[in-house]
């Protein structure tokens, strides 16, 4: 940034971002649409710390003693429960928003790490089924590409009620990315600016959803688990109603969760942070006697093993990553800095996923750009990243004396800010004080 003379005082209220947005809006007459997730400063897992071992807590030997990481989803109802080696899954991202190479890279990486990937709006491609050992099939309001043959091929079904980046909003896929294949899969004209439905077409409310879930189970002969995904809006009620509807797992996606294309105003101003959503979802599960029986998958802004461990300690059974997985396979790669600059951005800042001109070849349907991503190399990068996350979670779990990462608990945590203490329901560091609770 160019150093400015001191008398040029920037307005806190009307800073350069705000001024640029007002000018853009005045020029175009349309809201800003972009990818990524919330970019504003939010309470995050960084506001929590683990306490580690002490006189009363014995650590496990970091390099010698076992620390389990596996998780099983749907054991109560499904004939074929999902068995994951690690508690980190790959979130739903569609073919269409991502290139076929990117989907393949995600599948390869997840396979190596022993975890699942997830389809997205637009259906299942043969490539992603072929490259994903464990594939979760999303059942979305648009039902684009929805096909019972694919439903039967899935290892789990995820009924998407909402998404962290846009609770209450439907998907978007801009015309540049609606090529012939994507259009055919979605039964839409090529090149339109596709705006998906935000409400399911054949059910309204949790009572209907309960029946819908029975239908889905009947169609797949009760073979696979059924998840319900909600954006973090009212996680206590949403989780309770998801349990009532018969879900095997509830995915709660915080407002840091990413998207391929949504209105900026939606991304930044709707939903609550992940750190605030997990405790509310856990409260609902515990009150219903369903905690650990119905699995909780937390998503939205997960970046590191520390984030994973903290989500588990707050009561989640697993986490889901999207943006971090894309970065791992090459999104915003500095190698393409010149091209990012030509697009008016820079590596690390680029979020125009909707534009279809991704220099890294990930969020595009342009064959030349998509060809830049080697899915084998991308898959290895993701596998390495997932391995690091897993090692980090195990390190933290052992330091807190846990022989399985699922044994992490809120008692292992302290909060560094009053806000985080209130949201996460753990004591402010150095005190026993949890805002809003007695004592």
């Amino acid at each position: 940034m160019t150093e400015q003379p001191w008398h040029l005082r920037e307005s806190f209220t009307f800073d350069r971002n705000v001024i640029a947005e007002i000018r853009r809006a005045a020029n175009t007459g349309i809201y800003r649409i972009r990818g990524w997730g919330a970019k504003r400063e939010l309470p995050t897992f960084d506001d929590l710390v683990f306490l580690g071992a002490s006189m009363s807590r014995y650590p496990l030997e970091g390099y010698r003693e076992a620390c389990g990481t596996d998780v099983v989803i749907g054991a109560e109802r499904a004939e074929r429960p999902v068995k994951l080696d690690i508690p980190i899954t790959i979130a739903g991202m569609s073919f269409g928003s991502l290139s076929a190479q990117a989907k393949e890279a995600l599948g390869r990486g997840a396979n190596s790490a022993g975890t699942s990937t997830t389809t997205g709006d637009g259906g299942m491609t043969p490539e992603e089924r072929g490259h994903s050992k464990t594939l979760v099939y999303q059942y979305l309001p648009s039902r684009y590409g929805m096909n019972p043959d694919d439903l039967r091929k899935a290892d789990a079904i995820e009924v998407v009620v909402g998404q962290g980046a846009k609770p209450g909003g439907g998907g978007m896929l801009m015309g540049q990315k609606i090529n012939e294949r994507v259009a055919e899969m979605r039964t839409l004209p090529e090149g339109i600016d596709q705006r998906s439905a935000c409400r399911h077409p054949d059910w309204t409310g949790p009572d209907d959803l309960e029946i819908k879930i029975i239908e889905l189970r009947e169609i797949v002969d009760w073979q696979v688990p059924i998840y319900i995904k909600v954006g973090a809006a009212r996680p206590y009620y949403d989780t309770a109603l998801a349990v009532k509807a018969g879900a095997d797992a509830v995915v709660v996606d915080g407002m840091q969760g990413g998207t391929a294309a949504t209105q900026d105003v939606f991304i930044e101003h709707v939903g609550i942070p992940t750190i605030a959503a997990i405790p509310e979802a856990v409260r609902a599960l515990k009150e219903l006697g369903a905690h650990r029986r119905v699995k909780l998958i937390a998503a939205g802004g997960i970046r590191s093993g520390a984030d994973v461990a903290k989500a588990l300690a707050l009561g989640a059974d697993a986490v889901s990553i999207g943006t971090a997985a894309l970065i791992a396979i090459g999104d915003n790669d500095p190698t393409y800095e010149e091209e990012y600059r030509a697009l008016g951005s820079s590596a690390g800042f680029w979020d125009d996923f909707q534009a279809g001109n991704d220099p890294a070849g990930i969020t595009t349907q342009d064959p030349a750009l998509a060809g830049r991503l080697d899915p084998v190399i991308g898959g290895r990068r993701l596998a390495n990243y997932l391995q690091v996350l897993t090692l980090e979670v195990q390190t933290l779990a052992r330091a807190n004396g846990k022989s399985h990462v699922s044994n992490l608990e809120p008692e292992d945590l302290a909060a560094l800010t009053v806000e985080a203490a209130a949201m996460a329901r753990v004591p402010l560091a150095g005190t026993t004080w949890i805002p809003g609770q007695d004592g």
Binding site: N27, M174, A183, G191, D202, E215
Partner: protein
């Protein structure tokens, strides 16, 4: 409501292979058995409003349900034929892919929702959102359809022998809607279109298949005005810059927004083959017009 010719129940396609009595057999047992069957005719008695009856059939079998059913009867149906002698609740034949689902009575909400292929025949009335997000299915309704029918309908044909309630075809894509009776109002971006020979052929085929009477010339056709397909984006900066250049060059300027400024797609017109064909046929006539009620959002891109 227009009077519809009462359809005679078609004869059973063959001897009944097995009868499922849902007062004695569980839904799960019955659906599983139907999924295992490769051929034959199956009867279901005492459905007692059960949900998901005959859901997920994917072989060439026939199922006759004697009585009314609950939600999602014949959901995600493929290949075979399901006939319900009674009424059906929400989501009859939702996401049907192929084959045929027929009901002698009325269907409540979202009949044929998101259907991708095959034929759904409702001999009575269908409730709200009939054919919502349909993706290629053909739906014939002997009576009336409720409000918001064919909402966001993408492909396929909805034929209504009776009347259509408010907001028919709101935000419709490339589906074709044919109504014999009155239309209370059209939804956003849905307009009346002329009926050409190809549409009469479609009507003839579907009316024959449904066996509910009606002649093609009795129907009006509705479809998409395609004004909501792309965002409408201004670009004053380019216009001003162009004007400035033109002052020096003394040439006319073209309005063009850069992707960066829009933060989204270009608005240039793109069409499918089907769409091109339809547009060329609509150009033949100057009678295409907005119908009985002006859609709520007539400004291009207003429904964003």
């Amino acid at each position: 409501m227009s009077k519809t010719k009462a359809a005679k129940p078609p004869p059973l396609p063959g001897p009944v292979s097995h009868t499922f009595d849902l007062s004695e057999t569980t839904l799960r047992e019955m659906n599983h058995a139907l999924h295992q069957a490769e051929s034959g005719t199956f009867a279901v008695v005492n459905p007692r409003g059960a949900h998901a009856v005959a859901a997920g059939i994917f072989t060439d079998i026939d199922v006759v349900v004697n009585g009314s059913v609950g939600y999602y009867c014949a959901g995600m149906h493929q290949h075979g034929r399901v006939r319900v002698e009674g009424n059906a609740s929400t989501g009859l034949a939702e996401n049907i892919m192929s084959g045929e689902v027929r009901i002698s009575g009325n269907a409540t909400m979202s009949a044929g929702a998101t259907g991708c292929g095959g034929l759904v025949v409702v001999e009575g009335n269908a409730g709200a959102r009939c054919g919502i997000s349909m993706k290629g299915v053909d739906i014939v309704v002997g009576g009336n359809v409720g409000h918001m029918s064919a909402f966001m309908a993408q492909a396929g044909n909805l034929v209504v022998l009776g009347d259509a309630d408010h907001d028919l075809g709101d935000s419709i894509y490339e589906a074709e809607l044919f109504v014999r009776g009155t239309v209370a109002s059209l939804g956003s971006d849905c307009v009346e279109k002329p009926i050409e020979a190809e549409h009469r052929d479609v009507l003839e085929r579907l009316l024959t298949a449904a066996g509910l009477g009606g002649r093609p010339e009795q129907f009006r056709r509705f479809g998409s005005a395609r004004t909501l397909y792309n965002f409408a984006v201004d670009d004053i900066d380019a216009e001003v810059a162009g004007t400035s250049r033109n002052r020096s060059k003394n040439t006319k300027t073209k309005k063009k927004a850069s992707a960066k400024q829009r933060g989204q797609s270009a608005t240039k017109k793109r069409t499918t083959k089907k769409q091109s064909s339809q547009e060329s046929s609509s150009k033949k006539s100057t009678t295409e017009k907005r119908s009985t009620k002006q859609p709520k959002n007539t400004k291009k891109g207003a429904k964003q």
